[in-house]
Symmetry: C2
Subunit: 173 residues, 2 copies
């Protein structure tokens, strides 16, 4: 059955499917899942006024529609034009179909529209995050900083950055 | 008149003096002052359960007691043993008396007691922050990361780090 994808704001009925989706990646601890849901709840309560803009990618056919992934990002407090990507996840059975890159490109384009100059993404140096890191690098993110022993001994924080302004789009200063 | 200093938890009656103290440094924008007060309010509402531990340094004589400075720090969410120093300020007329270093040493020692392995401090690369940066460096902090153009164009974020575990106290990995 032919399908198409749509990226739209997350609404209340998406909360439970997105929770299952996040847990289904088996990539996040229960504390991390709880944090992801707190941001979603702030978006549901405050909408555009919240600092956590949250969108889902929905796959649609003529007879059904299913949420396959979601992204949460927002303007970094106390900055002018810096945005943070807080969360991005795609359900495992849909990996390899480009949904993650679609969600990331959407977030960047929306951030740019809102005056964003750069997007930052923080991640872990753990071996299991290597596919995630390659995903960001394919999208043009550059490793900008490393905080040693951040998450726990032996687990550094990596900060990736991508300039969003069109004049900077071919490189990072 | 002989005086002594005491570092104690911030209580509700300190909120207004501390607000004036923060504004009196002329170092923070109104958005930054508002953020500092939000953290104080979370400490006042939640106490030890909040993620923002907040203490004041009080100068005392036999006849008066005045708050001269304050510090706000706490465990970094989703980490094991990383702490952030969110805010530290000393009223300008008391600069040069070591109150800032006393507050910083108190925060480090309390973080260590709570299982802290390292303290992080984020600051701006702006010229006006040079005295602040020297203050952190004198206390043993090492510049660990720089995020270009973070706060605004031309204004980078600097991340300083100090290992807190006694076995690491003579150097940073």
């Amino acid at each position: 059955m032919p399908s198409r994808t749509l990226i739209r704001p997350l609404v209340r009925d998406d909360r439970e499917p997105v929770r299952r989706l996040i847990e289904g990646t088996h990539r996040f601890t229960s504390a991390e899942v709880a944090t992801a849901l707190e941001l979603i709840d702030e978006w549901l309560a405050e909408g555009e006024k919240s600092e956590y803009l949250t969108y889902v990618l929905e796959e649609q056919t003529s007879s059904w529609a299913t949420v396959r992934g979601y992204v949460c990002y927002g303007p970094t407090p106390l900055t002018e034009g810096t945005f943070d990507l807080y969360w991005i996840a795609v359900e495992p059975v849909s990996h390899g179909r480009g949904y993650g890159q679609q969600l990331l490109a959407f977030a960047e384009s929306d951030a740019r529209r809102r005056g964003g100059r750069a997007m930052l993404i923080e991640t872990s140096s753990q071996e299991s995050y290597q596919p995630t890191i390659r995903f960001y690098e394919r999208a043009g993110y550059v490793l900008t900083a490393r905080i040693p022993e951040y998450y726990r001994p032996g687990d550094d924080k990596l900060i990736f950055r991508k300039a969003l302004a069109s004049t900077e789009s071919h490189g990072d200063p």
